[in-house]
């Protein structure tokens, strides 16, 4: 009896021990280390030329919204955590000798010297007063080579209905939200206190973008849009439960000044393989209407997988096929239930001359652990950054883990 109890205890321990371990599956030759852990809601991250990781938190940890992580002995695991910045947010980046970090209303910057922040208490506000109505409030950032910063301002809405997320409520025409949100705004990277009056609406018709990156090879802005929710729940006559789970597409856009990706009027139908009129605007899964003139996405993915980071790989550590291709961190779906959820992985898309040159593939999977469900997932990939040696860093906002992925020839 006693023997049995001990065996049971050992069995239980082994079970829980195993289930608490999450191993990431990647292609042959790739390895990872757990670079940092337990940072809480770790969102985007950036790596300095010296190899320090700066990560932005959506929830303060010990009163800090940014952490600088150093790996002084070079074993792939951070051995020093230093926190600063008493505001929460998502975006972070290094540009032209400054560290930039966003709150849900604006963007701050800190002067850097030799890859260190001069004064963590001397934040200068570069952008201020952006729309923050909780829904889709995170402000992701990226930079071009001409001294400009691009900021996503997500639409605080699902489909610009008169009553947001209410079944049967019609879409507003024109959608007034687009005046101050639902697009990418462009600002100077060195002018204090800019807002709508001195920024440019660079691209519009984007419901919410969390993952975006400036492609330095072709000098264009690329973004991943989070597609709308509730197609099956609101329009069961047009979409089956399964069709609602995979629609609309999550889309990647290559943007130019003045691009209009079509939200809230249009969505990309994965079944019909084209941009169609949203049902809130009279769409019936056949009508194209005004959507014919909107900017087309360059690659589409199954619905609701929530692309939270986009990174064009410019390093030389990974095999040649990865050079200038796109890594995407899919946070993982929720609007598929009760159908099985999808995402919670990293995807790679090969590129040639700034356009996809092959099918997308799952690059790294297993972050969620046993359950691909939003609440029960062990980890959810949220941020991507490239190290100076060409390694790839991945952040998680479920528990605050950071992985460092390397390739060994």
């Amino acid at each position: 009896m006693k023997k049995n109890s001990i065996a049971l205890l050992i069995g239980l321990f082994a079970f829980f021990h195993l289930s608490a371990q999450v191993s990431i599956k990647m292609p042959e030759g790739f390895t990872y280390s757990i670079f940092a852990d337990s940072l809480g809601r770790a969102r985007h991250l950036v790596v300095s030329e010296k190899g320090d990781v700066f990560v932005k938190l959506e929830k303060l940890k010990n009163g800090n919204g940014i952490y600088q992580l150093k790996d002084q002995n070079g074993d792939g695991v951070a051995d020093s955590y230093k926190g600063f910045g008493n505001y929460t947010g998502t975006g972070i980046g290094i540009n032209n000798g400054f560290l930039y970090a966003s709150s849900d209303e604006g963007v701050y910057r800190y002067k850097m010297t030799n890859n260190e922040v001069d004064d963590v208490n001397a934040a200068e506000k570069v952008v201020t007063g952006l729309v923050n109505k909780n829904q889709h409030a995170s402000k992701s950032i990226t930079f071009d080579k001409q001294g400009n910063i691009y900021v996503n301002i997500g639409a605080p809405s699902n489909a610009c209905q008169v009553q947001d997320r209410r079944k049967g409520s019609p879409g507003m025409m024109p959608c007034p939200i687009l005046d101050s949100a639902g697009g990418i705004w462009k600002f100077k990277n060195d002018v204090p206190l800019q807002s709508y009056n001195n920024g440019t609406k660079y691209a519009t018709g984007l419901r919410n973008v969390v993952g975006l990156d400036w492609n330095k090879e072709v000098n264009d802005l690329y973004v991943m849009q989070h597609g709308r929710d509730m197609l099956f729940q609101f329009y069961p006559d047009l979409f089956t439960q399964q069709e609602g789970a995979v629609n609309p597409a999550e889309e990647m856009f290559r943007l130019k000044q003045g691009s209009d990706a079509g939200w809230p009027y249009c969505y990309f139908d994965n079944g019909k393989k084209q941009k169609l009129l949203n049902p809130e605007y009279g769409g019936d899964r056949n009508k194209i209407d005004i959507c014919a003139d909107k900017t087309k996405s360059i690659i589409q993915f199954p619905g609701h997988m929530a692309p939270n980071a986009l990174l064009f790989y410019t390093g030389t550590m990974f095999p040649a096929k990865y050079k200038n291709g796109a890594f995407i961190a899919f946070h993982g779906s929720w609007n598929r239930s009760p159908e099985p959820q999808e995402g919670y992985f990293l995807v790679f898309v090969p590129f040639k001359d700034g356009m996809p040159s092959g099918d997308w593939e799952i690059f790294a999977d297993g972050f969620a652990g046993d359950k691909k469900q939003p609440g029960a997932a062990t980890y959810r990939p949220t941020g991507l950054a490239q190290g100076p040696d060409g390694s790839l860093y991945v952040s998680d906002d479920q528990k605050g883990r950071i992985w460092k992925i390397s390739y060994n020839k």
């Binding site: 829904q135 409520s169 729940q233 239930s337 469900q373 939003p374 609440g375 959810r380």
Partner: protein, 134 residues
Amino acid sequence: MRFIFLLLLSFSVINAQSQAINKQIMSTGKDVFSLYCLACHQEDGTGVPNLNPPLVKTSYVLGDKKKLIGIVLNGFQEKVEINGEFYSNVMAPHDFLTDIEVASVLTYIRNSFGNKASAVTAAEVKIARKAINN
């Protein structure tokens, strides 16, 4: 016939508080939940981190029934803190549900996902709805 059924149903809802939770109410509640709540709050009521609040053992679900009925009828637009976490998504008003549907779904939620609390009656929903409309 349908009227008599509804009458009987509402009668049983009114009496549910003093009894074990009525199976029919739970079944109606589950149907309403699947149709209008499940997409956001998830099948097991655990919600979505940062977006859609969990319904598992929270003060909102187990506490003041009037407040809870109000959330269903009015929707919920503010960023809300529950057990130290914030939730930001918008819940639309569900005032198109009948008193019995609201009572059933709330009774279901208060007695599922590990929750155990008294039933919500159609009469309580009726009073709350009147207070909102006035």
